[in-house]
């Protein structure tokens, strides 16, 4: 990290110094300041879409287009994720073979806590996502882990998200250099172009939200994970955050990493952190 930022400062020299005078944050370019990042990130969207109410950003494409919003509201009357939600509730209540259940693995019995995930685990020194915690809970109780991209994991996370609906996203970054590094790694992944189409997450979700990509409207990056997991008409099924990251990668013709790879956990950490304060709206229905 040190060498690269020194190189950066050297090469930008004059322009940077002039710019540094105006906003002190840049002088300390390599000192990571998540709180300032989050503020800048949110203001970028609030100024770019002044007509959109702040909490509406979590509705993704539907906050960007009236016709799509109407189709969504009609679906929401009896949403297609209804079955996953019921299945998740039932699974959550069914004890494991050893008598314990998910409630024993999570604070507050796992109810109304989704907004605190992913969190930075200081023992492990890494970001732990809700999907990872669920599988670890299963393994700790002698059960086989679920696939990260299939329906069981989506049903469980759908129910846990449902119990947190409306609660503001509340991601914490502890005062631990490894947490800052994970956050910065997530930010790097978010803005890094990949795949033969040479897109980064930002190319679509920061530079052109609200615009069409064939039939679909691009969702703004702000609050894009607040509605997870989502039932997508395109998959005619549920999708977890892992499934969304993997499919997004392959759409830009980048070979996806394995679900819950460090980069995915870090980018989830970054994207969730900058959406702090916006309400959880999962599970969601999307095109």
């Amino acid at each position: 990290m040190k060498a690269r930022s020194a190189l950066l400062l050297g090469s930008l020299s004059a322009a940077l110094i002039a710019f540094a005078l105006t906003s002190p944050r840049v002088v300390a370019a390599d000192k990571v300041d998540p709180a300032a990042d989050a503020k800048a990130f949110q203001n970028f969207f609030f100024q770019k879409f002044p007509a959109v109410k702040h909490e509406d950003f979590v509705n993704g494409p539907y906050s960007m287009n009236e016709d799509m919003k109407r189709q969504w509201q009609e679906k929401e009357e009896f949403p297609p994720y209804e079955f996953a939600l019921d299945a998740g509730k039932e699974m959550f209540a069914t004890p494991f073979k050893n008598g314990k259940s998910y409630a024993d693995c999570f604070p507050n019995g796992g109810i109304g806590i989704r907004q605190t995930y992913p969190y930075f685990d200081e023992k492990e020194g890494k970001v732990v996502t809700l999907e990872l915690a669920l599988n670890r809970c299963r393994e700790a109780n002698g059960e086989a882990p679920y696939s990260y991209v299939k329906d069981e994991m989506a049903s469980l996370t759908a129910y846990m998200a449902f119990t947190s609906r409306g609660k503001p996203m509340d991601i914490r970054i502890p005062d631990d250099p490894r947490a800052l590094a994970a956050y910065e790694n997530g930010k790097r992944y978010f803005y890094t172009r990949r795949g033969q189409l040479n897109f980064s997450c930002a190319s679509c979700h920061v530079q052109s939200p609200g615009e069409r990509i064939r039939a679909e409207i691009l969702a703004p990056a702000l609050g894009i994970l607040n509605a997870m997991p989502i039932y997508r008409s395109e998959w005619s099924g549920m999708g977890t955050i892992s499934r969304r990251f993997v499919t997004c990668n392959s759409q830009t013709r980048a070979v996806p990493l394995e679900p819950q790879a460090d980069e995915y956990r870090d980018v989830e950490y970054f994207v969730s952190y900058v959406a702090n304060g916006l309400p959880i709206s999962g599970p969601g229905a999307r095109p």
């Binding site: 690269r4 190189l7 906003s23 800048a40 790097r188 033969q196 040479n198 920061v206």
Partner: protein
Amino acid sequence: MKQSLPLAMLLALLLTLGLAPAARAANEAEFKAAYSAAEAASKEAAGMRNQWTVTVSALAAAKKAADGGDFDRATAASKEAEALAKASIVQATSEKEAWKAMEIR
């Protein structure tokens, strides 16, 4: 498609010189060299966690063509795979710094 032009010229050359039988063996060696170069570049790209799906499918197409004995197509596909892998390596290297320009400040 950009590969087809050199391929066509190669074929034309072979036909005129009537070296078809000798060319058949040389092509296999030529393919092996091209394929291993492509594989090396592809491994490097994967090592940088920035592999492209098109590189993987070009490599697979090369192998399939070679198994079928069509070494001309196999060599062309290997060359394409190598080019794609190299491009993904350039992308990963340049993005190490370039991403900061996109960052919302």
